[in-house]
């Protein structure tokens, strides 16, 4: 049942992605052919629940969102490293478990630091 992924199968997947792109653009193009078109200034203005748009739309938002994104990269890379570890865990035995615990512990140090600095608290 276990099967290697050959370059052919990546090719099939690549072709699938390409066809999905074509599908999406074809849907937009079909609608381009049949849709109505009657723009005027008020219709094309920014939608703000009916009132006149106020100020620039490129507003500031809290820095905490960036913090979340940076932390996401760290912990997502952790998950990416843990997945192959999980696949071969049963073959590797106790040594794999110990190294896994050490790996997770080091990450937990970083997590504790982020907790201490209130990176996850959007209210502060």
């Amino acid at each position: 049942m276990v099967k290697q992924m050959y370059i052919e199968e990546y090719g099939v997947f690549g072709g699938f992605v390409l066809l999905s792109v074509i599908f999406a653009f074809a849907a937009i193009f079909t609608s381009f052919l049949v849709r109505a078109k009657a723009p005027y200034k008020e219709k094309n203005s920014t939608y703000e629940c009916g009132v006149r748009p106020d100020g620039d739309a490129q507003i500031k938002f809290p820095i905490k969102y960036y913090m979340t994104a940076i932390l996401f990269i760290v912990f997502e890379v952790e998950a990416v490293f843990i997945l192959p570890w999980a696949v071969y865990f049963k073959k590797l035995g106790l040594a794999a478990f110990v190294s896994g615990v050490v790996f997770v512990f080091i990450l937990f140090l970083g997590w504790g630091y982020a907790m201490k600095r209130d990176f996850f608290d959007y209210k502060k």
Partner: protein
């Protein structure tokens, strides 16, 4: 299925490149039909169920029992005007729905709907699944930023921070299942759970299952985590300025993501296409080796898969009809301070279990 397809065409001595290319198109047509069909059915089902949950009838005018309602909506969206507001970044604005839609469509090829029906069988199937799926976040950010609208920008920033935050516990809960099954191939994972309810991963990995379900709701931006589309605050979130077919692509992608993530949930925890009884019902009637046995098992597996998937989707809709919305700070708080440590500890416990149980 791929092997059978290749062997048929090699019998007629057709070059292998053409076989691969035609296989790609065949799989795509199947998946596109499935995607559109499932979304049309899903939206109707959701509206009907929400109607019943709130003691209404739901859509019942277009066609018998309202079955043509979503089809009519789709055709209406096709003919709607495409409004690009004057301040928008036109290129990114047009590109965003495509970037959001394509990864969701692409992962359909990695999902086994029965033992044979899988577009791309790979030993790193789950890896590829999540790697490709996470690209769609870029589409959300493009949509929000290019719209030149405060609601869109805030909705997109909220959606992105929510989706990427919940992806960490999601992947860690998947790690637990991968550890139990010893493979990232969805076919192997589904196959290892055959033999009835008590062999499913939900028994051993119950905590993983709960974490995955919660994170799935957050990834989908669904209630109780529907902050990016909080109607009372942000109009419609990152797709506020979209109309016509571009809005339809967002809509299509969201609902097909619901479908495909439910499929993944079923494959990981509820035994995938395997029967809920010990053996397939077809084998009670026909012998396992006979042609008719194999023939009916093909459809029986599809039936089990879709029955389980629609059960999961029913749960998701039920939650939407029941739970109130969370606050943004408690959403992030819940993910990083509660779900993340629990999923890590759960993974290590599952590893210990796997070590001692063999």
């Amino acid at each position: 299925m791929f092997d059978i397809y290749v062997s048929i065409f090699e019998y007629f001595s057709i070059p292998r490149v053409f076989i691969i290319m035609s296989w790609c198109v065949v799989v795509f047509c199947f998946c596109a039909a499935l995607l559109i069909g499932s979304v049309l059915a899903l939206v109707l089902w959701e509206r009907k169920l929400l109607g019943y949950f709130t003691v209404r009838l739901g859509p019942n005018r277009v066609g018998p029992w309202g079955v043509l309602q979503t089809t009519a909506d789709a055709i209406k969206l096709l003919f709607k005007e495409d409004i690009i507001n004057s301040g928008a970044d036109r290129l990114l604005f047009s590109l965003a729905p495509v970037i959001f839609f394509v990864p969701v469509m692409a992962v359909y090829s990695l999902m086994p709907f029965n033992q044979w029906l899988i577009g791309v069988e790979s030993s790193v199937g789950l890896y590829l699944f999540f790697a490709v799926l996470s690209v769609s976040v870029v589409g959300i950010l493009f949509a929000g930023w290019s719209s030149d609208n405060k609601y869109s920008l805030l909705g997109a920033v909220r959606a992105v921070s929510q989706v990427i935050s919940y992806e960490v516990p999601l992947l860690l809960s998947v790690c637990g299942v991968v550890l139990l099954c010893g493979s990232m191939n969805p076919l192997v994972i589904a196959e290892s759970q055959s033999g009835g309810v008590f062999h499913w991963n939900i028994i051993v990995g119950f905590v993983s299952c709960l974490i995955f379900f919660v994170c799935m709701l957050a990834e989908l931006n669904r209630c109780p985590f529907d902050l990016p589309e909080a109607e009372s605050e942000l109009v419609s979130g990152y797709n506020t300025e979209y109309s016509g077919m571009k809005f339809a692509l967002f809509f299509l992608a969201e609902y097909s993501l619901l479908f495909i993530l439910s499929c993944l949930f079923v494959v990981l925890f509820l035994g995938g296409y395997t029967s809920i009884f010990g053996n397939y019902v077809s084998f009670w009637v026909f012998s396992e080796e006979s042609f008719w046995g194999q023939f009916f098992v093909f459809f029986e597996q599809i039936f089990w898969m879709f029955a389980k998937v629609f059960f999961v989707i029913f749960m998701v809709i039920w939650i939407r009809a029941t739970f109130p919305r969370m606050k943004m700070n408690s959403l992030i708080f819940f993910c990083w301070k509660f779900l993340f440590p629990i999923s890590v500890v759960n993974l290590l416990l599952l590893a210990l279990f796997g070590y001692f149980a063999g």
